[in-house]
């Protein structure tokens, strides 16, 4: 029996649903049907998905039920509908990167994340919208649709993984995965009022993730609770010989670790993250969260990350340089969009790329080509990599004194659609608080810490030490446990 007043199936957590599946109070097919019905009811307004295949999802759910009936259930994700950002390869499913370039591309193989999710029994449900090739902070750069923020349909869900965040917030998936190069998981999680986590660089394999900036990209989960994020992360983490940057570390049972880690922790507050540009309501909510950690007995101290103001600049050199190289593969020859009527093969490259890429992708390829071009390499790219060393050093220096760092995730709550679309620099600056974490390769998590007077979610970012995801999750849960933001859902 479902207790009275418990939320609709599509708003429940993995932990709660897994318990019902385990107890045979619920079947995976029933759950999938509820999520499909919810998606049909709200998707026209939310626009989180590029595509989804209800029949295929129901078949996966039926296979999960059959496994469970045979006593071969594979753990808490078995039968759970998991949405995937449309840059994560699943064999036989579209893989578009929300780009005209890959509008008709169907993945011929499973990436490692998909392979592991399938091994965990998850139902791979739908292809979630993003800023084209994960370049953007609002999901307005998609070639196909503009995803809306479920809390206010006139506002953006953040980006680039806006579809992944909106789907979980709206009840169109139970958990989802995105990718984070400069904040693309944490910022949309904050703007949509859910938990989002970027793991330490190298913890999750990038094999089968469409590359944007290879030294920064990481796959990570979106979830309603910290516990669900722990379950989802555990399913995809671990060394993979198919990704040479994957780091061979032991992956603990993150969910089991939660109960063992109770603090109190030493927490650092970087003064550079609380200056001009921080929305006062966001600042107040984050201060209140910091106050809560003090009440829990944590030692909270101000710290300094002196190179913070250079992070966005270094990022837009390094990320665009890497993207200009990675996206050279889209040449209209082997796969992807090919322009008609090209006069020779070189013209085919120029025209296919002109037609296949949107404005932001072109801008970044051009900027990246410029900073790598002869005569500018030392002034831009090499210097940015040295600044990256200094940024990383700032964090490692801070970790001699503190266990983790607390900051706002985004300087503002969700902004209006169109507000920053014509001003790329303003859009880039909305990633000010998340970008340093990618440059330093650290794990970062955003969790809800309140709402503005207008009812928009606010996110608290917790930055952890390298490969200390278990500790990071436990710190987040210590706050979450004492608040009821998780119980709030957008009216749709």
């Amino acid at each position: 029996m479902k207790p009275a007043g418990s939320p609709a199936l599509f708003h429940q957590t993995v932990a709660a649903l897994a318990a019902q599946l385990e107890a045979r109070q619920l079947s995976a097919v029933e759950l999938m049907r509820a999520v499909i019905a919810r998606t049909e009811a709200v998707e026209e307004r939310v626009q989180a998905f590029n595509s989804h295949d209800a029949a295929d999802a129901l078949a996966q759910a039926a296979a999960s039920d059959a496994r469970r009936a045979a006593g071969q259930a594979r753990g808490p994700l078995d039968g759970i509908p998991v949405g995937l950002k449309d840059v994560i390869a699943v064999e036989g499913q579209p893989l578009t990167a929300s780009s005209r370039m890959l509008a008709n591309f169907v993945s011929p193989y499973d990436g490692t994340a998909a392979r592991k999710l399938k091994a965990a029994g998850a139902v791979c449900w739908g292809r979630l919208n993003l800023d084209e090739f994960a370049m953007g902070s609002s999901t307005e750069n998609s070639a196909f649709r503009t995803t809306r923020n479920p809390w206010d349909l006139e506002r953006v869900p953040g980006g680039s993984s806006g579809g992944s965040a909106a789907a979980v917030a709206a009840g169109e998936a139970i958990v989802s995965f995105g990718s984070d190069t400069g904040g693309s998981i944490r910022q949309p999680a904050a703007l949509c009022g859910i938990v989002g986590m970027k793991p330490t660089y190298g913890l999750v394999s990038r094999y089968g993730l469409i590359a944007f900036a290879s030294s920064l990209d990481q796959i990570g989960p979106f979830a309603r609770t910290v516990e669900d994020a722990a379950i989802a992360l555990g399913a995809v983490a671990g060394h993979d010989p198919l990704d040479s940057t994957s780091v061979p570390v032991e992956v603990p049972d993150y969910r089991a670790e939660l109960a063992k880690r109770r603090g109190p922790w030493k927490l650092g507050i970087p003064k550079e993250y609380f200056g001009a540009g921080l929305d006062p309501e966001v600042g107040a909510a984050v201060e209140a969260a910091i106050g809560h950690y003090r009440k829990l007995g944590c030692q909270v101290r101000e710290i300094s990350l002196p190179h913070t103001k250079y992070a966005v600049g270094a990022y837009y050199i390094i990320a665009t340089a890497e993207c200009s190289s990675n996206l050279s593969r889209y040449d209209g020859i082997r796969y992807g969009h090919r322009a008609a009527g090209a006069k020779d093969v070189v013209d085919l490259y120029f025209q296919s790329r002109a037609e296949g890429f949107g404005a932001e992708v072109k801008r970044r390829i051009i900027l990246g080509t410029y900073v790598l071009s002869s005569g500018y390499y030392d002034a831009y790219y090499l210097r940015a990599q040295k600044v990256r060393t200094l940024i990383r050093r700032d964090f490692l220096e801070a970790y001699k004194e503190v266990d983790a760092i607390l900051t706002p995730t985004s300087p503002t709550p969700a902004f209006k659609r169109g507000e920053k679309a014509a001003d790329p620099l303003a859009m880039y600056l909305s990633d000010t608080y998340t970008i340093g974490v990618n440059l330093a390769g650290l794990p970062g998590l955003s969790l809800p810490c309140g709402f503005t007077r207008d009812g928009l979610p606010i996110g608290l970012q917790i930055i952890g030490q390298p490969f200390a995801e278990a500790e990071l999750l436990a710190i987040a849960q210590a706050y979450e446990r004492d608040h009821d933001w998780v119980g709030r859902h957008p009216e749709l």
Partner: protein, 96 residues
């Protein structure tokens, strides 16, 4: 919006193999001018004696055993090709 004197957009777009329309050139020139002016901030950092970081956690000398692994079947590998003939990808004539 600022212009950057040393950004030759035609030359860089040529290197990047992207054909730009006149409207794109005008817009990108102004927008990239702003961005390049912003990233010039990095010039004030003292980086003398600092090693560059390419990856936060460099893993060096990653070798795989030299053992054949199953690859994609030809049909799967060619499924996304824009034009094909027999088991080949068709392209415009490269050599006259």
């Amino acid at each position: 919006m600022s212009q950057v004197p040393d950004l030759d957009l035609d030359q860089v777009a040529r290197l990047a193999r992207i054909a730009l329309t006149p409207e794109e050139k005008a817009r990108f020139s102004a927008q990239l001018g702003d961005v390049i002016a912003y990233i010039a901030l990095l010039k004030e950092v003292d980086v003398s004696g600092v090693e560059p970081t390419a990856h936060a956690f460099p893993v060096s000398n990653v070798w795989a055993e030299d053992v054949a692994q199953p690859g994609l079947p030809v049909e799967a590998a060619l499924r996304n090709a824009p034009a094909r003939r027999d088991n080949l990808i068709a392209v415009p004539k490269v050599v006259e």
